[in-house]
Assembly symmetry: D2
Homo-oligomer: 321 residues x 4
C-alpha cells in the first residue's frame, strides 16, 4: 500500500471511528441486560440499566460520541486515579509508596483480608478502597474542606470544565451507609497508616467519589493522561509525565477491580471503572475515552461498557500488548 | 482405706490447699519473668510484672489467698463471660445465638479474617472481641448508660460487692485507642449483626471491660458459676442453670484466647482470662478462683497465673477430663 | 429425700435408661431425614440413611441397645482418637506435641488454610485430617504394614473383640480417591512435619480409618476411656490415665468437626464422630456409648445421632459442664 | 529537530545501547550483593551470586551483550510463558481459560490460599505454579514423554537453537524435592482441574522448568514475542499474534511474581523471571532481551537484573505506559 503520512493515518482512523461508533454501540447495547444497576444507595439505583454512552476526544480536540452521553453520573472509583495523581504531586513518590503498595491483589475492592494477613499492613495498591482511603489522607490541605476543594479544582482543571461539582445527595448517602469503608479506615488507623482522623479522611474520600461528570468530562480527563500529562489544547504541563506513567500502569494492573487481568487481555488499555457505571480509558498519544453504562457485571464493571471497549480495541487494534 | 464422708473429703482438700497454696504460688512466681505486662494503654503498663496473687473461695464461704491479692485490676475480657450471661437472661438463647456462634476459631481474639471468609458473617463465639461486641449490643437498656448501669449492678450482685465500679481512666483511654475494635464493630454493622449504633455498643463494651476487681471479687463471681448459678451464701438463684452451663462450656472451649485447647489439656477447668492479667476459674460444685498476674505470655494469658493453675490442677486432680 | 447409696443411684439411672432408650431413639429417628449419607466413595453411599442405632455399656459390663445396632460401619475419623493414644504411648507427649498442636481451628476438617497462614506449619490438632495424618506417621513400626497391624491389635484390645478388622474395599477406594488428603500430606512433608514417605503415612491413615466396627465395639472402646484407661472387666491398665485425659479433652474441644463448640454446649460429653455415621462418646466413670446413623448433617456429623445424644444428655443430666 | 527516518531512529538507539550497555551493567552489578542465590536444591546453589549478564537482539538480528553471558542456567518459571503459548496453540483460548484464570493474585507464586478460598478452585493465572501445572496438563501428547518432547522442540524452534536441552540433574532433583508442587497438584486433581495423573503432569512441568538456556537463547525467544509471533529472520509465523498478545499481557500483570505491579511501574515491559536468575523481557517491535543474575531479591527476582532493566527502561524510555 501507499505509505500514508502520520496525519493521514490519524484522519483515517478517526473517520473509521466516526463511521462505525454508532453501530458498535448499538451492537453492544444488548449486554446491558447481563448487568445490574448498583443499588446499595437509592441515588445509584435510579440510573437506567439500559443506558450506554461513549465519548471520544482525539489529541487535536475533535470529539465523537454515541448513545446516552448526556447523562451525568458520579465518578466513584474513577476518581481514585486522579486523587493518586494529586497526592503524588503533593507528596512525591516516596511518601506515597511508603503508605500504599504497587501490587494487584486478586481480592475484591473492599476486602480486608490482606490487611490482616500480609505485613506490613499497608493497602496493596491505590485502586482498591483501602488504598484510595490512604491516598485521600495524603492530599494537602488544612482540613477536609480544603482537601476536597483542592481535589475538585484539580478535577475541573483536567476536565476543562469549571462546572464539575460534588453530588451532595450521593455524598451524604454514601457517607451515611459507609460502614465497611469506615471499618477499613479504622483498621488502617490502628496500623498507623492514616495520619488524619478517620472521619476527616472519609469525608475527603466520599466527596471525591461523588463528583458528577459526563462521558465527555471523563474523555477530557483521560486525554490529559493520553497526552502524558499535558493539556491537549494549550500544551501546558498539568501533571508530571512520570506520575502519569504511574497512574496508567495502575490502570492496567488494577483499574478494573478483580477483572483487571481479563480486561488487560481482552482490551489492553489503561482504564478505571466506577460503581455508577463509568469507565475512563485512553489510547496513549491518541484518544481520551469516557464510557457510561450503569448496568454492572458481577465484578462491578459496566457490563455493556466493557463489551463495547472490547469491540473497539479489536476493531481498531488498540491493545498496548 | 477408710471411707471418708463427703464433708471430710472437702475439709481434707481444703486443708491441703491451705497448707500448700503459698508454696505453689512461690514456686510459680518465677514464670512472671517469661511474660510482659500489656502496654497498649499507659494505665495497663503501670502494673507490676512481678505480681502474682490467688484467691479461692469454697462453697461454704471459706476463703484462702496467697501472694499479691490486694491489688485491683480491670476485668477486661473476663467480663465477657458475665455480659454473655446477662444477654442470655435478657434475650434468651435463640436471640443470642442468632447473632453469635458457638465455635472456637483458632484465630487471635481480635482477628477479622473469619468475618470476611465465613458466611454468615457472625462472630464465631462470644469470647472473641467481635463476639463480645455483639453481646454488648444485646444487653437490655434504653441507651448505653442504662446498659452499662445494669451490667455493673449484675456484676456487683455476683461479686457480693457493692463497691465494684468502672475504672474511668482505663475506660476513656481504651475507648480512645480502640481503632481495631471500632473497625470490627463497623464491619459487623455493615453485615447487619449490630442493631445499635457503633459508638453506643462500644461504650457499653469498653465500660464493662473497665470494671475494677480484685482476686476475691473474681473468686466470688466464679463461685456463683461453680454453684450452678446460685448465690453460695443465700442459695438464691441468680442465673438460670442452663445459662451457667453455656458459659462454662465457652470457658472451656474458648476462654483462654487461642491457647484454650492447651489450657483444657493442661488444666481442664472452665476459665476466662483478661489482658490486665486476671484469670477467673472454678472447680464445679467446689471452688471459685481468682488469679492475678499481669505479666502475659505470648497468647495473652497471665504467664505465671496459667502455670500456677497447672500446678493446682495436677496436685489437686481438678481436671474435668 | 432419702439418700440412696451409690450403687442404688447407678441402678436407678440404668433402669431409667433401659426403660426410655427405645422411646428416645424412636423420637429422634425423624432427624435422619435432615441428613445425607456420605457419597464420595460408593462403599459409603450404600448405607441406609434411615438407620439409627445406639449401644451403651456401663462400668459393670451391663449393656443396652436400641435401633439398628447390628450394622457394621467403618470407624473413619473416630479412629483418630485411638491412633492419638497409640502415638502418645509410643512416643510420649513431648514428641507428639512437637508435631501437632492442641487448639481447635474453626475451619473444616480438611482445610489447609492454617497450614499456610500460621507459623509453625504444624496441624492445629490431631482430630482434623492434617493432624491425624501426622499422628499416623508417629506410630511405631518398621513400615506401614507393621504400623497398621499394631494399630489393629490396639483397637481389638480396647474393643475386646478379636474379630475387628479392616474393610479392604473401603480402604482401597478411599486411598484411590484421596487427592485432598494426599495434597495435605505433601504439604506437611514439604514443611518437614512428616518423617516418613507420604505413601506410607497415608497407607497407615486410610487403613485405620477403614476399621469396621459396630455400635457395641465403639461403646466398649469408649468405656475404656470412661474408666480412665482401664479395662472395665479385668481392671488392667490399658492406657495411661494422663493420655486418656488428653484424648477426652480433644474430644470435647475438637471431636465433632467444626460443630464441636455447639456439641459441647448442647451435649457436653467427650465425643468423636466419623463420616460413615458413627459417634463414640462416654460419660466419665459411668458409660461407654456407640451411636450409628449414617445420614450426616452439613457439618459432617450423624444428623439423628447428635439429636439422640442431646436428648440423652438433657434427660440424664450428663453434661460435664 | 530534524526528522530522522525510522531506520535512522533505530540505528541511533542501537548505537546508544552499544555504547552504554557495558557501563550500565557495571553500575548495577553492585546490586548482586543485595540478593541471594536460590538454595532449595544443590544444583541451583552452585551458581555464582556475582554473575550478571545481558543479551539484546534487535528485529534485524543484530545483537549486543554485556557481562556474564556465556553461563547457561535453567529457565525455570520463564518456561511458563512458552508452555502457555503451546497449550493455547494446542487447545485454543476457551479450553485453556476454562481451567485457569486471567487475574493477578497478590499472593506468592506457590500459595494455595486462593485455591481453597475462591470458587471455582481454578488457579488465578498461568504464571503462578498452580496455573503452570494446569497448563502442563493441557499440552497435547500421548504421555509425559511426548508432551515434554513437543515442548522442547517448540522451545528450540523459538530460540533458533537445536541444542537447547533438559538439564537432567536439575530435573531429577527438583522432581524429588517437589513436595509443595505435588501438594498443589493433588489439590487441583481433587477439584477436577487436572485431567491427567499428577505424576505425569509434574513430569512435564519439571521437565520444561529444567530446560537449559543462555541469555542469548532468552533474547531470541523474546524477539519472537516482540515480533508478534514471527520468526524475526525468516518472517514465518511461529505463534498466532493473538496468543502472543495474551502472553505479553500476563507478563505485564503477573510475570515477576508478587512484584509484578512494581516492575510494571518501574520498568513497564512484559517480562518473566525464573528462580535460577533469568529474566526474559522485550521491547515490542524492537528488542528481545535475556538477563541472567542468580542472586535473587526477597520476591524471587534477579536482584541486579531488575535494577539493570530499570536503568535501561529509564535511559531508553522503554516503558509501555
Amino acid at each position: 500500500m501507499n505509505a500514508m503520512s502520520n496525519a493521514e493515518v490519524i484522519d483515517h482512523e478517526f473517520n473509521r471511528l466516526r463511521e462505525k461508533l454508532p453501530l458498535w454501540l448499538q451492537e453492544n447495547r444488548r449486554f446491558c441486560r447481563d448487568g445490574k444497576v448498583a443499588s446499595y444507595i437509592p441515588e445509584l439505583s435510579k440510573a437506567s440499566g439500559n443506558h450506554l454512552g461513549i465519548h471520544i476526544i482525539d489529541a487535536s480536540g475533535r470529539s465523537l460520541s454515541a448513545g446516552d452521553c448526556g447523562v451525568a453520573f458520579t465518578m466513584q472509583s474513577i476518581s481514585k486515579v486522579f486523587t493518586l495523581l494529586l497526592a503524588l504531586m503533593d507528596r512525591g513518590e516516596e511518601a506515597v509508596f511508603d503508605k500504599v503498595g504497587m501490587e494487584p491483589t486478586g481480592d475484591q475492592f473492599n476486602s480486608m483480608l490482606k490487611l490482616e494477613l500480609v505485613q506490613p499492613s499497608i493497602p496493596f495498591n491505590p485502586m482498591i478502597n483501602a488504598g484510595a482511603i490512604v491516598i485521600s489522607s495524603l492530599i494537602n490541605g488544612s482540613g477536609p474542606a480544603e482537601k476536597s476543594e483542592r481535589t475538585l479544582q484539580f478535577f475541573r482543571l483536567l476536565a476543562g470544565n469549571n462546572k464539575l461539582d460534588f453530588d451532595n445527595d450521593v455524598y451524604r448517602t454514601e457517607s451515611a451507609s459507609a460502614d465497611l469503608n469506615r471499618s477499613m479506615a479504622y483498621f488502617l488507623k490502628d496500623k498507623g497508616v492514616l495520619a488524619c482522623p478517620v472521619d476527616e479522611v472519609l469525608e475527603v474520600y466520599f466527596k471525591h467519589c461523588s463528583i458528577n461528570a459526563t462521558c465527555s468530562d471523563l474523555a477530557r480527563m483521560a486525554l490529559v493522561l493520553a497526552s502524558g500529562g499535558r493539556d491537549p489544547v494549550t500544551g501546558a504541563a498539568l501533571i508530571p509525565r512520570r506520575y502519569v506513567q504511574i497512574a496508567k500502569t495502575f490502570m492496567i494492573t488494577c483499574g478494573m477491580y478483580n477483572a483487571s487481568g481479563q480486561f488487560a487481555i481482552q482490551v489492553g488499555l489503561p482504564a478505571k471503572s466506577g460503581v455508577a457505571g463509568g469507565i475512563l480509558t485512553l489510547v496513549p498519544g491518541k484518544y481520551g475515552i469516557g464510557v457510561f453504562g450503569p448496568a454492572l457485571n458481577p465484578k462491578g464493571n459496566s457490563s455493556a461498557g466493557v463489551r463495547l471497549l472490547e469491540t473497539l480495541s479489536k476493531e481498531m487494534n488498540w491493545s498496548l500488548f
